[in-house]
């Protein structure tokens, strides 16, 4: 039985192929000239170049954070490509003109790029290495005033909006990787939901790293105006390389009065092989600002990939009665390391936050939850509920919980619950003795464990996440 579980957990990564496509890439290395070059390749306005250079100069003064419970060799930031774009044969006017090789890539990944295939009613923006390749359903969205386009396009078409909100949630100097991203980001998605608009379809960005030497630095900015609602999905994969690649994204969300943003991620970057060789370093800064009264931001993440995950999608609850939520499943196997969690910063009165974190560790992996709940002096009647559960599969993995609670207001109510459980041989035998094989047993246990998080994912994503966990866990109790 142990061996059945072994194979179960060790199923190969399906998205490890490389697309053979001509790309336009800068040589390795980072300095002000590289940044100027990126900016000029993208025909950016001066203010944006300034933004980048300021960030770069600030970055030079920072050192990589070392407090996370992860270990890796120092990243050599000069040994990396900061710009890589698939060479367009000409300017694209419609989907039909996208390089067929690219289209095939996304077909293989199961991303509904062609609009006739997109029955799921999801608008998709596709980022390949550093640039956005295509965005679907743009016209339909434009009818209701929703702007959904690549970041580069937003800079050109809606500079006033970008200028107003870029860096307003995650300032350029926020942390080492956010500063780096601010200096060199190449593309990403931009969404703007106008006042009172309930976005008629889910918006989705699909990220793909293809170039073996390029870092990926995308930038996502979502602004939900008063009384609007949007559900946004993000998916990621990368080919299998035996070097480590850096993914340092920044996501900023702004919710104004009565607005709601629901942000869901299924992260499946290449995790490295079973010996821990290769894989993505996923060092990401995600933060949402509940700026308006009664606003709500909800992060749901299913983190299954990457060699190292370092990310803390956070909510800053400024508006009175605003709500922040964080629902997370983080799965690590083999030599993967994850240090992930959230920050809930209560500033407005009567603000609420809820944290549900489910960590699953298998193999020799290490999975840490790190979360901060902060209630500032003016946040009367703030409430937080946190629940952090860890599940261990096998005896060689680790799980940790690092909750930080800072309360400066005596009316606050903060609750924290944590549990650790293990899928052991006796549990597996109990299933087996009822005729249920290892694969189904593990998936049943894991799905039960993650139910509360999966319930917050949009339907199709929930199905995908369930399958993904099943795949990742093929085979590991002993």
């Amino acid at each position: 039985m142990s061996s059945a579980l072994e194979t179960l957990i060790n199923r190969p990564y399906e998205y490890g192929f490389v697309t053979d496509i001509e790309s336009d890439a800068l040589p390795k290395g980072l300095n002000e000239d590289v940044i100027r070059l990126i900016s000029s390749k993208k025909n950016e306005p001066d203010w944006l170049l300034e933004f980048r250079l300021n960030a770069y100069r600030h970055w030079l003064t920072l050192t990589p954070p070392e407090w996370a419970n992860v270990a890796h060799p120092k990243v050599d930031f000069q040994d990396m490509v900061y710009y890589s774009a698939p060479k367009p044969r000409k300017k694209l006017a419609s989907m039909d003109e996208v390089d067929p090789e690219l289209l095939r890539t996304f077909e293989k990944l199961g991303v509904p790029m062609s609009e006739r295939k997109a029955l799921a009613n999801v608008a998709v923006d596709v980022i390949f290495d550093s640039v956005s390749v295509t965005t679907t359903y743009k016209d339909k969205l434009a009818e209701v005033g929703v702007i959904f386009c690549s970041f580069s396009e937003a800079v050109k078409q809606h500079p006033e909006l970008v200028k107003k909100y870029l860096g307003s949630v995650v300032p350029t100097g926020d942390n080492f990787y956010a500063a780096l991203n601010s200096a060199v980001f190449t593309d990403g998605s931009f969404c703007y939901i106008p006042k009172g608009c309930r976005c008629p379809m889910d918006l989705s960005t699909y990220f793909r790293i293809n170039n073996g030497e390029s870092g990926q630095f995308e930038r996502t900015l979502i602004v939900a105006e008063e009384g609007s609602y949007v559900s946004y999905l993000e998916g990621c994969t990368a080919p299998r390389f035996d070097t480590n690649q850096l993914h340092a994204a920044v996501v900023e969300l702004v919710a104004l009065d009565h607005a709601e943003i629901k942000y869901s991620t299924v992260q499946n970057w290449y995790a490295g092989d079973e010996n821990g060789v290769g894989g993505i370093y996923n060092f990401v800064t995600k933060r949402g600002l509940c700026q308006g009264v009664n606003s709500k931001i909800s992060w749901t993440q299913v983190e299954t990939g990457s060699a190292i995950t370092w990310k803390y999608p956070s909510c800053v609850l400024i508006g009175d009665n605003s709500i922040g939520e964080f629902y997370s499943v983080a799965l690590t196997n083999h030599h993967q390391q994850a240090d992930t969690g959230t920050k809930m910063i209560h500033i407005g009165k009567n603000t609420r936050s809820r944290i549900v974190s489910k960590g699953i560790s298998a193999g020799q992996s290490n999975n840490s939850y790190r979360g901060l709940v902060k209630v500032s002096a003016k946040a009367d009647d703030a409430r937080n509920y946190s629940q952090c559960d860890s599940m261990l599969i096998g005896a060689t993995c680790g799980a940790n919980t690092f909750p930080y609670i800072e309360v400066h207001n005596s009316t606050a109510k903060v609750e924290h619950e944590a549990s650790t459980s293990r899928i052991g041989e006796d549990q597996m035998f109990y299933f087996a003795s009822r005729g249920i094989g290892a694969e189904e047993a593990v998936s049943m246990i894991i799905n039960g464990f993650c139910k509360e998080v999966f319930n917050h994912l949009p339907m199709e994503f929930a199905v995908e996440a369930t399958q993904l966990l099943g795949l990742k866990l093929e085979g590991s109790v002993g």
Binding site: A4, F429, A432, G448
Partner: protein, 254 residues
């Protein structure tokens, strides 16, 4: 007693097994025919649960000798889930808790998996709900237990009752009940024992591991075996159990 011409379901020959390098079973011989009830008694640590788990295929135990035929199949060659498909059922002495998995979902998956093997019909959640409610009556189990997670927070007695509910759902050819009576209150013992009786037919058989005569008052055994030091050292009829009840084990010798 059943006539010795009825079909042999289980044939254990000279079975020995070890766990963690320690020999526990040292040459077990046991023949079980259709329609029979066998009671296995014996002091703590004599190997009763070990025998039960070895028959069900627990991976921690290593079979070091002998063989086991189950309805013409070499049982020891099958992984535990296939033994279950073949009709072996073990009611555990210490049923395990499975957080996050509801009793009804667990039972439905077990039932449908078995149905698939038997070429029977799948039941969808609604159909299964009707089916399982009917089965719950056999052990007079409150339907609210179906929505709770498998054994999670169940009392000792409730867990045992749940084991027999599972037996009722899976309808095994050979049920091995490891101390199902321990932990049951007086009424529950009667109810669960009656449940087992209702499930008995001329085509299946039960092996009951127990320490007490009171269970055998409800389910009359055809054979009573005494285990000690990993062997069956004496076999008799139900009178043997009564004698053990008054005299203990010290007088029993191979």
């Amino acid at each position: 007693m059943i006539s010795s011409s009825s079909k042999v379901i289980l044939e254990v020959r000279n079975l020995s097994a070890s766990v963690a390098g320690v020999d526990i079973l040292k040459g077990i011989n046991l023949t079980v025919r259709a329609g029979e009830v066998h009671a296995i008694m014996g002091p703590n640590g004599s190997g009763k649960s070990t025998l039960s788990k070895v028959l069900a295929g627990h991976p921690s135990y290593t079979v070091t000798g002998g063989d086991v035929m189950f309805q013409g199949k070499n049982l020891l060659e099958l992984p535990p889930e296939e033994r279950a498909h073949a009709g072996v059922f073990l009611a555990f002495q210490y049923p395990i808790e499975i957080p996050g998995v509801s009793n009804s979902a667990f039972l439905r998956l077990a039932y449908n998996t078995l149905q698939a093997r038997r070429g029977g019909e799948d039941l969808d959640p609604l159909e299964f709900n009707d089916y399982i409610r009917e089965k719950s009556k056999i052990v007079e189990m409150d339907p609210s237990f179906l929505d709770r997670n498998v054994n999670e927070g169940f009392s000792g007695g409730e867990k045992k009752r749940n084991e027999i509910l599972q037996m009722a759902v899976l309808d095994p050819t050979l049920a091995i009940l490891d101390e199902t009576d321990s932990g049951l209150d007086i009424d529950a013992l009667r109810i669960v024992a009656n449940g087992v009786n209702k499930l008995m037919t001329t085509n299946n058989a039960v092996i009951m591991v127990t320490h007490y005569q009171r269970l055998l008052n409800y389910i009359a055994p055809d054979f009573v075996h005494v285990m000690r030091g990993g062997q069956i050292i004496k076999t008799g009829d139900k009178a043997l159990a009564l004698e053990l009840e008054t005299r203990g084990y010290d007088w029993v010798h191979a």
